[in-house]
C-alpha cells in the first residue's frame, strides 16, 4: 500500500465529503454540538467544561480561604446554602475544609489544567496548525471528551454523598485513601474519587494517542517537524508525557482499589486504627510504594500542565513582538529535555517521607538540572521581546504575565528541589506559594492568553479588550498579592493543610496577613466572573471578525475561513514552504507559512 493510501485510509468516507464542500451534509443539533467529532467543537467542549470546573474549584478555594482568613467569623447563610456537613452554624467545618482543599486540588490539576488546557488547545490547534482536516481518529477524540465528562460527573456526585467527598489531599496517600474507617471522606467519597480518576486516565490516554498520531502522521505537505509552530511541539511532548505517565498512576490506583476492597495490603502494614480501636491484620505493604507510583505520574503531570502553556506563550509572544521566536531549536530542545527529565525527578516530592538520603541527593541533582532548560526558555522569551514592536493586546499581557510568574515561581523551585532545604520547607506555605505560582497561576494565565488570542478562530468574533485589560491587571496583581506573602509564612514554618492557625501561638502573627490574602482571593475570584461574562457575551454578541488573519500571524489556522466548517479548509489543504516565525523579514511585517520562498530570499535555517 502506498504512503498516500496509508495517509488517507483513515479519513474514510468523511474525507470524501469534505472535499466536496458545497454539499451540505445533514447535521443535527446532537451531532454538531453534543456528540460532535469535529475537533473544533470538541475543543470548545473541553474549554467550557474546564471553565465550569474552574469556577467550582475556584469557589472551593474562596470557601476555605474564608475559613483561613476569618476563622472566628460566621456566615449563617452558608449553612443554608451548603448544609450542616460543610458549614455548621456558618463556619466551614473541619471535615468540610479538608474535603474542599482535596477536591480543589484534584479538580484544578486534572480537570482544569490538564483536560481544560491540553484538551482545548491540542484539539483546536493541532489539526489547524499542522494542516489536517481533523484528528487522526475523530471518534476516539469524541470518546476522550465524554470519558472526561463522565469523570467529572462522578467527581461532582461525590460532593453530594452523605459522608462527603474524599478529603485526604489530592495526592490520595494511603492509609487515608485505603481505609474507609480512617475518615468520613475515605468511604464512598474515595470510591467515587478513584472511579472518576480512572475514567480520567482513560480520557487522557485516548486523547494523548490521538495527538501523537496526528502530529506525526497528518502534517500537510512541506510541514516538516522543524517547521511546526512551538505550540504543536509543546502539545506533542505533553501527549508523550501523558501517555507514559498516566498508566503508572492507573497501576497505583488498581493496587489501591484492591487494598480498599479485597483485603490486600500493598500499601498497608502494622496499623492500629484509633477510630475503631482495632489493630489491622495488614502486613508487608508500604505506603511509600504508593507515593512512588503516584509521583511517577504526579511529577510529569506538572509538565503536562506547563508545557502547553509554554507553547501557547511562545507563539503569542512572537506574534505580538512581530519578531521570530528567539532560538527555535533551543526551545524545542529544552522542551525535549524537560520531557525526559520529568520522568526522573519524582522522588523530590518524597524527600522527607523516609526516602534514602543518598537517593535524595540523586533526585536533587536531576531536579536542579531542570532549571537549565527552563532558564533557556525564559531567556528566549525575554530575547524574543527584546527590541520587538510589541502589541500589548490582552493575550500578550497574559503571555508576559506567564513569563513573570514562571520566573518568580520557578526560582523557589531551586529551594524546594534541594533535599536539605526541603527538610525545613516541605509541607509549608512556601511550597503552596511555589507550585501555585509556577504551574497554577502560570498555566491559567497562558490559558487566558490562548483564549483571548484564538477566540476569533473559535467563534469568529472578538472579545472585549477593555474588560480584558481589567481582567489581566487585577488577576496578575491579585495572584502576586495572594501567593507572595505565603513565602514568608512558609519560611516561618507555617504548615499547609491546617484547619485553623489562630490556635497556634507561633502562627497567630499571621492572622492579619491571612485575612489580607483571603480578601485578595475574593476580589481576584470575582474578577474572573468578568472574564466569563466577556467570554460568553462575545460568543454571540462580540464584534464580528472581518479578517481571516486578525493578528497578522504566519501559521495555517489563519488561512482557513473565519468560521471554518468541519474539514477546516475549503478545497485543498495549503502546502507549507517555510517555518512559522517569519516576522519582520526582508521589510515585510510577516510572511505566511504558505508563501513560497522568494527567488532572492534566504530560507531561515535553524
Amino acid at each position: 500500500m502506498s504512503n498516500e493510501a496509508i495517509l488517507h485510509a483513515n479519513m474514510g468516507s468523511a474525507h470524501a465529503t469534505h472535499d466536496d464542500h458545497h454539499e451540505h451534509h445533514q447535521e443535527t443539533f446532537i451531532t454538531k454540538y453534543i456528540f460532535s467529532q469535529d475537533h473544533k467543537t470538541i475543543s470548545k467542549q473541553f474549554l467550557i467544561t474546564g471553565m465550569v470546573w474552574a469556577v467550582i474549584g475556584g469557589l472551593m478555594s474562596v470557601l476555605f480561604r474564608f475559613q483561613l482568613g476569618f476563622p472566628d467569623d460566621s456566615l449563617p447563610w452558608l449553612e443554608d446554602l451548603l448544609g450542616k456537613w460543610w458549614a455548621a452554624g456558618g463556619h466551614i467545618t473541619a471535615q468540610g475544609y479538608y474535603a474542599l482543599v482535596t477536591i480543589h486540588g484534584t479538580v484544578l490539576v486534572f480537570f482544569v489544567l490538564t483536560a481544560g488546557l491540553s484538551g482545548t488547545f491540542a484539539n483546536l490547534l493541532i489539526p489547524l496548525q499542522i494542516g489536517a482536516r481533523d484528528m487522526a481518529s475523530p471518534l476516539l477524540n469524541m470518546l476522550s471528551y465524554w470519558f472526561f465528562f463522565i469523570a467529572g460527573i462522578v467527581m461532582l456526585s461525590s460532593i453530594f454523598v452523605e459522608t462527603g467527598p474524599f478529603s485526604g489531599g489530592w495526592t490520595a496517600y494511603p492509609p487515608l485513601s485505603a481505609l474507609g474507617d480512617t475518615s468520613p471522606g475515605s468511604k464512598t467519597g474515595m470510591d467515587l474519587w478513584i472511579i472518576s480518576m480512572a475514567l480520567f486516565v482513560v480520557s487522557s490516554l485516548l486523547s494523548g494517542l490521538n495527538y501523537i498520531a496526528t502530529v506525526l502522521n497528518m502534517r500537510t505537505k512541506g510541514m516538516s517537524m522543524t517547521r511546526l509552530p512551538l505550540t504543536i511541539w509543546a502539545l506533542f511532548f505533553t501527549a508523550v508525557v501523558g501517555v507514559l505517565s498516566f498508566p503508572v498512576l492507573l497501576s497505583g490506583f488498581i493496587l489501591l482499589i484492591f487494598d480498599r476492597n479485597f483485603g490486600t495490603s500493598f500499601y498497608l502494614s502494622d496499623i492500629f486504627l484509633s477510630a475503631t480501636g482495632t489493630a489491622l491484620p495488614n502486613e508487608g505493604g508500604s505506603a511509600i510504594l504508593f507515593q512512588h507510583l503516584f509521583w511517577f505520574l504526579g511529577h510529569p503531570e506538572v509538565y503536562i500542565i506547563i508545557l502547553p502553556a509554554m507553547g501557547i506563550v511562545s507563539e503569542i509572544l512572537s506574534i505580538n513582538s512581530r519578531k521570530p521566536i528567539f532560538g527555535y531549536i533551543a526551545m524545542v530542545g529544552s522542551m525535549f529535555a524537560i520531557t525526559a527529565l520529568s520522568f526522573i525527578v519524582w522522588a523530590h516530592h518524597m524527600f522527607v517521607t523516609g526516602l534514602n538520603p543518598f537517593l535524595g541527593s540523586i533526585f536533587t541533582l536531576f531536579t536542579l538540572l531542570i532549571a537549565l532548560p527552563s532558564a533557556i526558555k525564559v531567556f528566549n522569551w525575554l530575547t524574543t521581546l527584546w527590541r520587538g514592536s510589541i502589541r500589548f493586546t490582552p493575550a500578550m499581557l497574559f503571555a508576559i504575565g506567564f513569563v513573570s510568574v514562571f520566573i518568580s515561581g520557578g526560582l523557589t523551585g531551586l529551594w524546594l528541589g534541594n533535599s536539605a532545604l526541603d527538610i525545613h520547607l516541605h509541607d509549608t506555605y512556601f511550597n503552596i506559594a511555589h507550585f501555585h505560582l509556577v504551574m497554577g497561576v502560570a498555566s491559567i494565565l497562558a490559558m487566558f492568553a490562548g483564549v483571548y488570542h484564538w477566540f476569533p478562530k473559535m467563534y469568529g468574533r472578538r472579545m472585549n479588550v477593555t474588560l480584558g485589560y481589567i481582567h489581566f491587571w487585577i488577576t496578575i496583581i491579585g495572584a502576586y498579592l495572594i501567593f507572595w506573602p505565603m513565602h514568608y509564612e512558609g519560611l516561618a514554618g507555617m504548615p499547609r493543610r491546617y484547619y485553623d492557625y489562630s490556635i497556634w501561638e507561633s502562627f497567630k502573627q499571621f492572622s492579619d496577613l491571612n485575612k489580607f490574602i483571603s480578601i485578595v482571593v475574593f476580589i481576584t475570584f470575582s474578577t474572573q466572573i468578568l472574564f466569563l461574562i466577556n467570554f460568553f457575551y462575545s460568543i454571540w454578541n462580540g464584534r464580528k471578525e472581518t479578517s481571516e488573519n486578525p493578528h497578522g500571524a504566519t501559521t495555517l489556522e489563519w488561512t482557513t475561513p473565519i468560521n471554518p466548517g468541519h474539514g477546516n479548509w475549503v478545497g485543498e489543504i495549503p502546502e507549507v514552504h517555510r517555518w512559522a516565525y517569519d516576522y519582520s523579514k526582508d521589510g515585510k511585517d510577516f510572511i505566511m507559512q504558505t508563501t513560497p520562498i522568494g527567488a532572492d530570499e534566504k530560507e531561515e535555517k535553524h
Partner: protein, 225 residues
C-alpha cells in the same frame, strides 16, 4: 508495504507518514508503550515488596501439580510450562494470520485466527484451573497458605501480587481474544476483502504479541525467580 521508495524521500517533510504506517498502527504502538508502563509499574511494585521481605515462598513448591496428576506426584512448573507453550504457539499462529493477511489470503487469515482464538481460550482455561486449584489450597487475595522458602510464615503479598498481576494479564489475554473474535467476524463478513487490505489483523497481532511478551516477564517474575 512493498511500494518502491526512492532514497531521497523526505519522510519527515510533511504530507506523508514518517514511519510509513497508518495512524491506527502508530496509535497501537504508543498504546503498547503506555501499557508496558502499566505492567512495569506492577512488576516494580512487586519487586519492591519482595525485596523488602525477609523470605518468599518457593515457586517450585507452590506450583507443583497439574490437572489429573497422580496423588503425591511432585511436578514443579510443569503446568505453567504448558500454559506458556500454548501462549507462544498462539503467537505463532497469529504471525501466520498476519502473513496470510499480507497476501490477502482470506482462508489463511480465518484458519489461523481460529487457531489463535483457541490458543487464547486454552491459556485462559489453564489459568482458571490454576486459580481454582490455588483457591482450594487456601490461597486468595489476603490469604497465603504457603510457607516461605526458609520455613517461616509466608507473607500475604505473595498471593496478593500473584493474583493481581496474573489477573491483570489474564484480563489482557481475554481482551485480546475478544479482539481476535471481532477480527474473525470481520474477516468472515469480507470486511477486509472490501477494504482491500488486512491492516486490522496486523494491529490485533501487535496487541496479541505484546500480551505474550508481557507473559514472559510475568512468568519469569512469579514462577522462575
Amino acid at each position: 508495504m512493498s511500494t518502491a521508495i526512492s532514497a531521497q524521500t523526505k519522510w519527515w517533510g510533511g504530507g506523508k507518514s514518517p514511519f510509513n504506517v497508518e495512524y491506527g498502527k502508530l496509535m497501537m504502538w504508543y498504546f503498547l508503550m503506555s501499557d508496558s508502563f502499566t505492567f512495569g509499574a506492577f512488576l516494580i511494585a512487586y519487586g519492591t515488596a519482595r525485596f523488602s521481605a525477609n523470605s518468599w515462598p518457593d515457586p517450585n513448591e507452590v506450583f507443583n501439580t497439574f490437572p489429573f496428576a497422580p496423588e503425591g506426584m511432585h511436578a514443579p512448573l510443569v503446568f505453567v510450562s504448558i500454559m506458556t507453550f500454548i501462549l507462544i504457539l498462539s503467537s505463532v499462529t497469529m504471525v501466520l494470520a498476519v502473513q496470510a493477511g499480507h497476501h490477502n489470503n482470506k482462508q489463511g487469515v480465518i484458519k489461523n485466527l481460529i487457531y489463535t482464538i483457541i490458543g487464547g481460550f486454552a491459556f485462559l482455561g489453564c489459568q482458571a484451573w490454576e486459580w481454582t486449584h490455588l483457591f482450594h489450597e487456601g490461597a486468595w487475595w489476603g490469604s497465603n497458605p504457603f510457607l516461605n522458602a526458609d520455613g517461616t510464615q509466608g507473607t500475604v503479598n505473595f498471593t496478593n501480587f500473584f493474583f493481581t498481576i496474573t489477573g491483570f494479564h489474564g484480563f489482557h489475554v481475554f481482551t485480546g481474544v475478544i479482539i481476535n473474535i471481532i477480527m474473525l467476524i470481520m474477516a468472515l463478513n469480507n470486511t477486509f476483502e472490501k477494504r482491500g487490505h488486512y491492516l486490522m489483523i496486523e494491529k490485533a497481532g501487535l496487541y496479541w504479541h505484546f500480551v505474550d511478551l508481557v507473559w514472559v516477564f510475568v512468568f519469569t517474575c512469579f514462577y522462575l525467580i
